[in-house]
Structures are given as C-alpha cells and as structure tokens.
Amino acid sequence: MLKVEHLLKRYDRSDPDAFAVRDVSFEVSAGEFFTLLGPSGCGKTTTLRSVAGLEMPDEGEIAISGVKVYSSSQGVALPVARRDIAMVFQSYAIWPHMTVGQNVAFPLEAAGVRSAQLKSRVERALEMVGLAAFRDRPAPMLSGGQQQRVALARAIVKEARILLLDEPLSNLDAKLRDQMRIELRDLQRRIGTTAIYVTHDQDEAMSLSDRVAVMSNGRIVELAPPLALYLQPRTAFAARFVGQADLLECRVLGRDGDTAEIECALGRLRAGVLPPQLDGPLSLLVRPEHIELHESAEPGVNRLTGVIERIVFSGRIVEYFVRVGERVVRVQGTSRAMFAAGRTIGLHLPPERCVVVAGALPAGGAAPH
C-alpha cells in the first residue's frame, strides 16, 4: 500500500551532516495501522509530510498503492492534490470561515463530486464521528474535541487509500484523549483505511498500532508490533522510549541456546531474550512490573535479596525502590500485597523477562516523560 525507500532529507543544503531524515525505509500493507514514534526532532513528522507531499525530500522513493508519488531517481514529485491521501493535522486546521458541513464538503468539492452525492457523503462522514447535528454550525464555535472530530470527518470523507495523522490527539486533555483514541481505532477498522500515525506518546502508539517504528535522529531504530517492541526490544533506545525501564550495563558470559548467562551490577543472571548480535555495548532490561517480590529470599536462578528504601504509592501502582548491593532497583507492584519500607525482601527476575538490548544509555537520558 505504502512503500518508502531510502528516504533522505537534509535540513540545510550547505551542511552535509544535518539530516532531518536519513535513509528511512518501511512498507505498510493495506488496512494496517502504522505508527512513527519518537521524541521531537527525530524526523517522524518530516517523514509523514514527505509522504503527503508537503515536504520535498532530497532522496528516496515513495509509492502509494503502486503509484510512484516521489522518486529522486526518476525525477517524480506528484503534487499534494494528486496523491491518494488524506491528512489530520495537530492544530486540526479547521477553516474558520466555513461551517462544519462546508469544511467536510471541501475535499469532495475539490474532487468535483456532484451535489446530491456530496451531501449524502458529508452526512455519512459526520455521522461516523458523531457530529451529524452540528453540520450548520460555524466551525470556530466548537470545542477542541469537536474540532478534532471535524478534522477526522474531513479526512475520511475523501475515502483516500491512506490516512495520515500528525499527532492528532496531542491538543486534547487527557480524558478526551483516551476516548478519542478508542474512537479513532474503531473508525479506522470500520472504514478499513490504511493509517500512518505520528506521535511522541508511547501509550498512544502501543494501544493504536499494528506496528510501531521507533525513530531517533532521523533513523528508524526499531520496527515491530507493540507487544514485541515492549517485551523484546532490540535496542536500549527503544527499550527506554516505550515503557519504563532501568537499564543495567551488562556483558554476556556464555550463551546457551536462546538464553545466556550475563553479569551486571546485580550479579550473575540468566537472560531469556537476546539481540541478534552480541558485540558492542549491551544492557540488561527488566521492566519494574516484571520483577516479583517475595516475603523472604530464596535461593535459585535470578533470585536476589534487597532492602526496601522507599515506597511511592500512587493508587493503582505501588512503586518500591529496593537496594540490591550497590544498586537501587525499581519494582512495581499492586496494592494487593504491600511491603513496609526498611524490610529485607526477596526479588525474582523471571529469565524470560530479562532482555539483553544493544547499546547503553546514560542514566536519565532520553527517558519518556
């Protein structure tokens, strides 16, 4: 459906090392919900805008359902209007001089759709987003959530093959954002369109996507379905960016099939997930909610003893800071079983949740907010 190959975009023609996007390639199949995830400045929006045709890349190929819309080798650059896409902007970009209905009708008018058909299609689109009653309302007289829905209706009315969404939920407040997230996913499934979604929010990326591409410094560092990305990341950057993680520098002592004996600040441990290559700096990832706490320390594989230094109770989650030797390890539990601060406790790091990832990150670096 969408094929992007070796996309490259420089910030500045005169500086050969200033890249907004460098060598980005990916393929999205029909009906898929595909997300570009990364911190600001990682090149995700530039990539999306290049697909839309709003930005002119310097090199690469982009094809939408087999049609080359951009190709540096063939000198092709289709204008925005002739690409089979629709787009939702972060600022919604609702035209303030038109009513809701006029906003939604615009793409059909631009395509020359006749008025009878136009009217029914506008109505259908407004119904889908639950704004049928607002058709004649002036667009500026809407709340943020309603403007968001108008932007969606305007995008889906065109029935384009690909729906491009540039951080569409980031201007909404938290509650509305959760609700819109569910609606958005439902809508995309119902109309069966292919969606390319840009966000810096890992929760959004996880809950919406079929596959997520994590970007950093203009490159895709990892591309996987949400579950694999979370449980078996290959890189320290992705491990850190999706979900919480304390990374411990480690080295592999010996490999045993799919598992490996490793050494880190916590001592010798068995890790159940390994990256394809074991050269270069490596880190151990154990997510705080995967560490089990026990009343007493027991001997065994990946079993440790620690002292609880501090407890942070935030309702749904109880967070323990447990000192194990030189290190403090973060552990998350629920309020079902609580442990008091200051006591000695047993920890179990299940080997299948001990993930070795490539690269090391300075503490506190590039953490998601």
Binding site: A52, G53, L54, P79, V80, A81, I85, A86, M87, F89, Q90, S91, Y92, A93, W95, P96, H97, F106, P107, E109, A110, A111, P140, M141, L142, S143, G144, G145, Q146, A151, R154, K158, L164, E167, S170, N171, L172, D173
Partner: protein
C-alpha cells in the same frame, strides 16, 4: 489548547469599586469634552448665518449654498476617485509586498521589512513636494531627463493632476497597508493551507477557497481604513491639487477658511460641508469596525509554533526583489534625494555637475539664526512632547478601564476614544476654532501652541487607545489576580504589575504620537496663528510662498528626526510583541 480559546478571560462586568467608577466618570467627561463638544459646535455652526456657534440666527442657507453649488457633485466625484484610486493601488501593492516578504523566499526579505518604516517617516507633504520637484511639467527633473533622452517637445508627465495625486498618495500608503496585512499573512496557520492541499485541492482552488476568504476580513478592514485616510488627507491634495484647482473635500474646507473669495472664512459653509464629510467617514468607520471584528473571529489557533511555509519563487525571486527595490526608490530615495539636493542650493536648479558648485549650507545654517525657524522648532518639539505624553497616559487609563476593569460605561468610553479617527484634521481644526473662540474666557488658548496640544491629543487618542487595548487584552488577568492574591491593592497592582507589562506598548505609543505630531500639517494650518508656528506650517509657508529650497531644508531635518523616532518605535513595538509572546 483548550476549547473556544478566543476571548481572553475577563473579570465580571462592573467589578470595580467606587474609585474605578469615579475614574470612569472623569475619563468619560473628559472624552465628551474633547470629542463630542467640538462635533456639536460644528453642527450648531452649520445652522448659524455667520458660522459662529454663539451668534444668533437659524438658517439652512449654508447647506443650500454648499449642496446647491453646481460644482458640488464634481467635488464629491474628485474626492471619491482620489480615495478609491489611492486605496486600490495601495492595497494591491501592500498585499503583494506583504505576501512577498512574509510568505516567499524573496531575497532581502528581512531588510525590506525593516525598510518599510522609511516611507512612513516621510511626511506626505514632503513626498508631494519631492515629487513636484521630480515631475512638475516645467522644472521636474524626470520630465527634463525624459525630454532630453527622447527629444520630446513637452513634459510627458504632470504631477499636478488627479492621477499624479493618486500615484503619490498610494506610494505613501503602501507601508500602512503592509503593516496591516503582514500579520494576517504571518499569523495564518500554514496547516490551514496544507489541509486544503491534502484534501485534494489544487493550488488555485486553495487560494480561491481558503487563502483569500481567510484573508478577506483583514483586506477589507485595511481597505476601509485606507479609504478613511484618503478621504481625510490634506497634505498631498493640498500640495499637488490646489495649485491646479483640483479640489477634494479636505482642501475645499481649507480653501473656504483660508483662501475664500469672500476674504473672510466662510465657517458656516465649512461646517455644512463638514457634516456631509463626517457622515461618509462615520460610515466607513463602522465598516472598518465590522471587518476588524470579523477578522478577529477568524483568528486561528494552533498547537505548536508553526514554521511558515515559504513559497519558492524560483527565478522570479530576483524580479520580485527588483520590484520591491523600485518601490523604495520611488517612495523614499528619489524624493528624498531631490529634497536634499534642493536644500543645498541657493535657488531651485536642476542637478548637474556644474550646478554642484553652487552647493551651500546657507539654508541649513538658518536653523541657528533664523528666529522664525528656531521658534517653530521649539514649538514643534513642545507640542509633540506634551501631546505624546498625554496620549500615552490617557490611552493607558482608558484601556485599563475598558479592557481590564470593565468599568460601567466601558463601551461608551471605548467608542468615544476611537471616534476621532474619523474626524479629518482640517475639520478638527475648524471645530477647535469654534470651541476655543466660544470658551475663550475659560481657556484662553486660541492661537497658542496649547490648542494644538489639545487637538493632537484628541486626534491621536484613537490610535493610542487601540494599541493599548490590544496589549491589555493579551496580558492575562491571572497575572494581576496573582498580585491581588498576594495582598496588593488596585493601585499597587497597576503600578507594579500592569504598568511594567504594558510599558513597552506605552513607550511605543509615545514615540508614535511624537513623530506624528511633529509632522501633522492640516490641523496646524487651520489653527495657525502668529505665536504657534510649527515646522510643518513653516514648511508649507515656504513652499507656497515660493521658497522651495528653504522648504526642502526644513523637510530634510524633519525627516531625519522622524526616522530616528520611528526606528525607536519599531524596536519598541517588536519588543512589546515579544513580551506578549512571552
């Protein structure tokens, strides 16, 4: 980011205590005195046989004379053609300039943006004099050059015509149009255009259906404003039209008071003519108000600070830069150069290498020894200083009462402060004459420089209060509420929080009024007596009295002073904009 974020939150209406009410009443009374009393006297005067408001008698003769005059339709026709022509030209070039500077990759955009204030620093009367020196049929430099080059028998251009007036007026108004429209181009979320493109609209469809409709209220408001200016303006029709007996409303009024065939000022007829004038202007003022309201409604919101999408012009960019350079050459460089040249000459002469030998600083040294010139300089500075200071203070108080306190009668105060924008300088001058001849026993300021101060305060308050309102609206009330919650009383809040925050805007108002009061000609001419000669009236006397080189000298120094003031103004306004953007 929230819903419906357009209006800044305001405290509830009538939240002030007795102090605020008292202040509001005092300001309202002052504004009624400054604005309404002159207008009422103007109306009364039009019904008096002698034209003086306190003298007896009631007549419609003045109206009959003015509107029954067979030349009246022509007068209106000329005025309308002059106003529409100048506004149309200035709008076209202003839109083009704003688009080129704000939305394309034309080379030198930043420099041009700074240069835009230069034409504003040139008083219209000097632009007209400069162009008279360049395009007059007998001595105009460009005419002489063209005649030499093409061997013509007669001058190809004559600036003393209606097209000549329109040409010079539109040159003068392009920067105003630019300053009006540039923010509209700059602040428009480029996503709005991109959304149209991703909706499948081609470039032209997008321009027609999205870009132009979005800009339309700003363009219409700008057009209404320019029309008001063109109806009101005296300088250019006075300099270029009157010698050729081409009259517009404002010059006709001047003619009836200063130059009338009867030998005495025909105040009754002036007032009768003035009522018609005011009717048109209030109509335009209302239109302007409507369009600005609408353009604010369209103000768009956006999540992130956006990078404006610059349109690549390709090879056209150099042509565009050339065109803009040509504009600046015509609006500033050429008239200024000929003025400087004339100021260095003992008599008006064509610039050649041989006449360079005649160059002398005699005219400039006049500033040190000519008593009339020295008095005029001191008068100008005094008037400008007091007018600017009073306008700045009054504007701050007015907008604080109107925007922040929502004092009782806020709407009335706001409208009163804005009304003078539609009162032409010549009319304001005449009205002042009535007021202070009538009230001579209370305020004996007729014929002194103080009557000019009062007139300028009235006139420039409309601008000052607009600017102050704009800033006041954008300073979030929570900043003041936080001060109140910290235990500060209203006085301390104004002194410690509000005043420092609006200070850059107040300074900008001060400088702007200073510059404009220095160059104001029409009101000063109507009110000029022996004691209150200011630089513009002296310059006018020199020019109409056949001393162009002396007029040019005064003009050159006036421009230098204005350029300095307006540069400071520009810097302060930018800073004030930055404070608001936080």
């Amino acid at each position: 980011m929230a819903a419906l974020p357009h209006a800044a939150p305001r405290p509830p209406e009538g939240s002030g205590g007795w102090g605020v009410r008292l202040a509001a009443a005092a300001v309202a009374a002052l504004l009624v005195y400054l604005v309404i009393v002159p207008l009422v006297l103007l109306g009364v005067s039009s019904l008096r046989p002698t034209g003086f408001p306190l003298e007896p008698g009631l007549t419609f003769g003045n109206f009959a004379t003015v509107y029954g005059d067979p030349r009246f339709p022509k007068l209106v026709g000329t005025t309308v053609m002059f106003a529409l022509g100048s506004t149309g030209l200035a709008l076209v070039f202003g839109i083009l300039l704003a688009w080129l500077i704000e939305r394309t990759d034309m080379p030198g955009r930043g420099a041009f943006r700074m240069l835009v204030i230069l034409p504003m620093a040139t008083p219209p009367v000097l632009l007209a004099i400069g162009w008279a020196m360049l395009l007059s049929p007998r001595t105009g430099l460009f005419n002489l050059i063209l005649m030499d080059v093409f061997g013509l028998q007669s001058a190809p251009f004559n600036v003393y015509t209606l097209p000549g007036m329109i040409f010079v007026e539109s040159l003068a108004l392009v920067p105003t149009a630019f300053l009006f429209l540039a923010p509209a181009f700059r602040n428009m979320d480029p996503n709005l255009e991109e959304a149209a493109l991703t909706s499948g609209a081609g470039a032209w469809f997008m321009v027609r259906r999205v870009l132009l409709p979005l800009l339309w209220p700003a363009i219409a408001a700008c057009g209404a404003f320019l029309l008001i200016v063109c109806f009101v303006v005296f300088d250019i029709p006075g300099t270029l039209g009157m010698p050729a007996r081409i009259y517009v409303l404002s010059t006709q009024i001047y003619y009836l008071t200063a130059d009338s065939p009867a030998g005495v000022p025909l105040y009754g007829q002036v007032s009768a003519l003035g009522t018609f004038f005011l009717l048109i202007l209030f109509g335009l003022g209302y239109l302007y108000y409507r369009f600005t309201r609408q353009s604010q409604k369209y103000r768009t919101i956006s999540g992130k600070g956006f990078r404006p999408r610059l349109i690549p012009l390709g090879p056209w960019r150099w042509l565009a830069a050339g065109g803009v350079t040509l504009y600046f050459a015509l609006a500033v460089l050429a008239p200024l150069a000929i003025l400087v040249w004339a100021s260095l000459m003992p008599y008006q002469t064509r610039p050649t290498l041989s006449s360079l030998g005649l160059a002398t600083l005699e005219n400039h040294l006049d500033f040190l020894r000519n008593a009339r010139l020295i008095t005029a300089t001191v008068n100008s500075l005094t008037v400008a200083f007091f007018a600017a200071t009073l306008v700045a203070i009054l504007s701050l108080v007015v907008s604080w009462l109107v925007v922040r306190q929502r004092a009782p009668g806020a709407q009335l105060i706001d409208n009163l402060a804005f009304t003078p924008i539609a009162i032409p300088g010549v009319m304001l001058g005449v009205a002042m004459v009535y007021v202070y001849l009538t009230l001579d026993f209370v305020f004996p300021i007729y014929g002194s420089i103080w009557i000019l101060v009062v007139a300028y305060v009235t006139h420039y308050l409309s601008f000052g209060s607009r600017l102050a309102n704009g800033v006041m609206v954008q300073i979030h009330p929570e900043l003041e509420e936080a001060a109140r919650a910290s235990g500060a009383g209203p006085g301390r809040v104004l002194r410690r929080i509000t005043a420092p925050l609006v200070w850059p805007a107040v300074a900008a108002i001060w400088i702007w009024v200073l510059a404009h009061a220095m160059r104001e000609l029409s009101t000063a001419l109507m009110l000029s007596g022996r004691e209150n000669t200011v630089l513009p009236t002296l310059l006018w006397d020199y020019w109409t009295g056949g001393e162009p080189t002396r007029a040019a000298t005064v003009g050159v120094w006036l421009i230098v002073a204005l350029a300095v003031f307006l540069t400071i103004w520009h810097v302060l306004s930018e800073r004030s904009a930055n404070t608001r953007a936080r």
